[in-house]
């Protein structure tokens, strides 16, 4: 009875307020789950080797393709349902999509010899392999409508017989597809292939940003909280810092372009890289300037979090150190700062969360549509800060809005979005793990 009464009325009779609050939490959770489910469903399904249908229309015409979705062209009218097929063979037909009136379909078969050939140029071929000439290094392919072509093996990524695959084989193929998406560079104007350079660019940019913003923000917070006289000016600076967090990110992008790229970068070029002018080295957007711009963007977050951490340290700890004959600097370094490390890491976590998803400022200071070379290689100085880089967020934007074939791009948009969420999650978890480790070292720090 007791338990039931509590369930119905909440603890200590909070009444409908508690239900409303709990409902809001439930709704928020539901939306997060729905978001992830949408991204995962649409994105990951793309890599599943769906079976190929051999379709015969009522007029005897035949073609092969993957059924993608069905649509009623005009809502509410008695129009026939149309089905979209992915037919591949851009080089033979000029298009890879075909809408078919469902009522015109006379027969659908799934012959096991239908093949999907993933090629470096022209995208997928769907049809049959007529001849495999390993010596000459080419395949002879024939589409369903009888067109033949000779496909050099060197330009073939993968040959799949989806209709002949077992479920397990499909699972393996799916895993391979996902892995290639993660580990390969983009192809066909970003509408195919993988996103590895974008993953690498995103993570590297965020790490460089953290390296830049954490010491800078921590020192600023230490000055504001520990060293500066707590007068009106300090209060004003503090309010200013907090308000900086609200400046739209594109404004930081403009600032980065003006100050970092044209200002500092241009000056560096005239001093050190004048032999390469007029082609700029640092005087154009690049990894370094993007990282610094985002560091600037996230600086207020780090300062505020660190300051709050410093303010939480009991005065007794400072006095304890001073009473032992420590100077103010020694007290700061040996007692106050170690105790504030978890707060600093909290600041870093918030900074990462904010920076990893920013796209707008990057477009001005160094992100590239296509930069298949990652900015780290075996060529001195190994880390190429001046290079342009790819970013998952910008990749989503680019694939979604600037690819010629939105039907092909859409699943990649979902998959990349899911990946961006996961990358941010991993970055955050790493920082949270680090903070937990630091806290554990200090024992039960919270009293």
């Amino acid at each position: 009875m007791m338990a039931r009464a509590r369930f119905l009325h909440g603890y200590r009779g909070e009444g409908p307020g508690a239900w409303l609050a709990a409902g809001c939490v439930a709704l928020a959770l539901l939306m997060v789950v729905a978001l992830l489910a949408l991204l995962a469903g649409r994105g990951l399904a793309h890599f599943w080797p769906t079976e190929i249908e051999l379709v015969t229309l009522d007029d005897g015409e035949r073609f092969a393709g993957r059924a993608v979705r069905e649509e009623r062209p005009v809502q509410g009218q008695a129009m026939p349902v149309e089905r979209l097929y992915y037919t591949g063979n851009r080089d033979l037909d000029g298009t890879v999509w075909r809408w078919v009136d469902v009522e015109r379909i006379a027969m659908r078969e799934r012959p096991a010899d239908l093949v999907v050939v993933e090629r470096r140029r022209w995208g997928d071929f769907i049809g049959r392999v007529v001849d495999r000439n390993t010596e000459a290094g080419h395949l002879v392919l024939e589409s369903i409508d009888g067109q033949r072509l000779i496909q050099p093996l060197a330009e073939v990524h993968k040959i799949v017989y989806p209709n002949a695959m077992s479920s397990f084989g499909k699972l393996v193929a799916w895993e391979q597809g996902v892995w290639r998406f993660l580990s390969e560079g983009p192809r066909s104007a970003n509408t195919a292939g993988g996103v590895w350079p974008a993953i690498f660019g995103t993570v590297l940019m965020v790490l460089l940003m953290s390296l830049a913003v954490t010491p800078f923000g921590v020192l600023a917070a230490v000055y504001l909280n520990e060293i500066a006289p707590q007068g009106r000016l300090t209060r004003l600076v503090r309010i200013g810092v907090r308000n900086l967090a609200g400046v739209p990110s594109i404004v930081y992008g403009v600032f980065g372009l003006g100050v970092f790229v044209y200002g500092i970068g241009g000056t560096l070029d005239t001093w050190f890289f004048s032999e390469r002018l007029p082609s700029p080295t640092f005087g154009t957007g690049g990894l370094l300037w993007a990282s610094l711009t985002l560091a600037l963007l996230t600086l207020p977050v780090v300062i505020v979090a660190t300051e709050e951490g410093l303010a939480r340290i009991p005065e007794a700890q400072r006095e304890g150190a001073l009473a032992l004959g420590a100077t103010r600097a020694e007290t700061l370094r040996r007692v106050v700062l170690p105790m504030a490390v978890p707060a600093m890491l909290t600041g870093m976590i918030l900074a990462i969360a904010r920076a990893a998803g920013e796209v707008a400022p990057l477009m001005l200071v160094g992100v590239a549509k296509l930069a298949p070379q990652v900015p780290v290689d075996d060529e001195f100085p190994f880390l190429h800060l001046e290079r342009k880089f790819m970013h998952l967020g910008y990749h989503i934007f680019d694939v979604g809005f600037y690819s010629g074939d939105i039907e092909a791009a859409l699943p990649l948009v979902y998959a990349t979005a899911l990946l961006l969420v996961l990358v941010i999650l991993v970055l955050n978890l790493t920082a949270i793990f680090l903070r937990h480790h630091v806290k554990a070292r200090h024992g039960a720090l919270q009293r």
Binding site: E319, A326, E330, H442
Partner: protein, 277 residues
Amino acid sequence: MPALDHVTDSVSPALATTGAVTEIPASASCFEIEGLSLAYGDTPALSNLTLRIPRQRVTAFIGPSGCGKTTLLRALNRLHDLNEEVRRGGHIHLEGQEIHAPEVEVAELRRRVGMVFQTPNPFPMSIYENVAFGLRLQMSLKKRQRDEVIEWALRSAALWDEVKDRLHDSAWSLSGGQQQRLVIARTLAVQPEVLLLDEPASALDPISTLKIEELIRSLKSRLTLILVTHNMQQAARVSDYTAFLNGGELVEYAATDALFTNPRLAQTENYITGRMG
């Protein structure tokens, strides 16, 4: 300088007849406080205090809340320096030297005048590192020497037997009473001449309190102790001299036995019998 400069004018005639504190000559005093006044901004906290604190004795400051006893204690190791609002007048001499003189290094002064606070404030480090903290600031010792000093300090604070097997555990895993003794050990490790104790047992249970009081008595042979307490019985139990402060003024200052058994002033008597404060 008059012989009775250690008491305020209002009570000196009374004390002159008993001679209660005339037994503290300048040569036997550790601190000599002369005309000390102190204010937080516009709020006066201490006015014109003059007293001598005897070397290697326990002196207790008692008085109602807000009477200025903690303020006086914190003036002795210049902990008020941190607060920009505090204004001070008068002099404090430690072993004949003005502690506010420009050549005095405040960090060195605070090493000589150690302080234990009301709530135990061990650092978030191991027990060992807590005691080593002050040592590391002062000098670089070989590990073996440092270990010896740390053992000595923990023994002096009557904590060694309880922690010798877990020196590298977090100091915050200790009980409140152990933490307070650890803080005392930490302070002893840097060899102070004076130990200021700001209600060191007020946050502790009776048994821990007892241990702290025993510790205070045992340390008397080595250093000067100054104790701020709310607890009259505690002052009576552990101190040799007691100063009663009220409203920022020194009301009465005498040997503890004399002050508790035969207070000169009605105000003091009211306070120690519990009719005031």
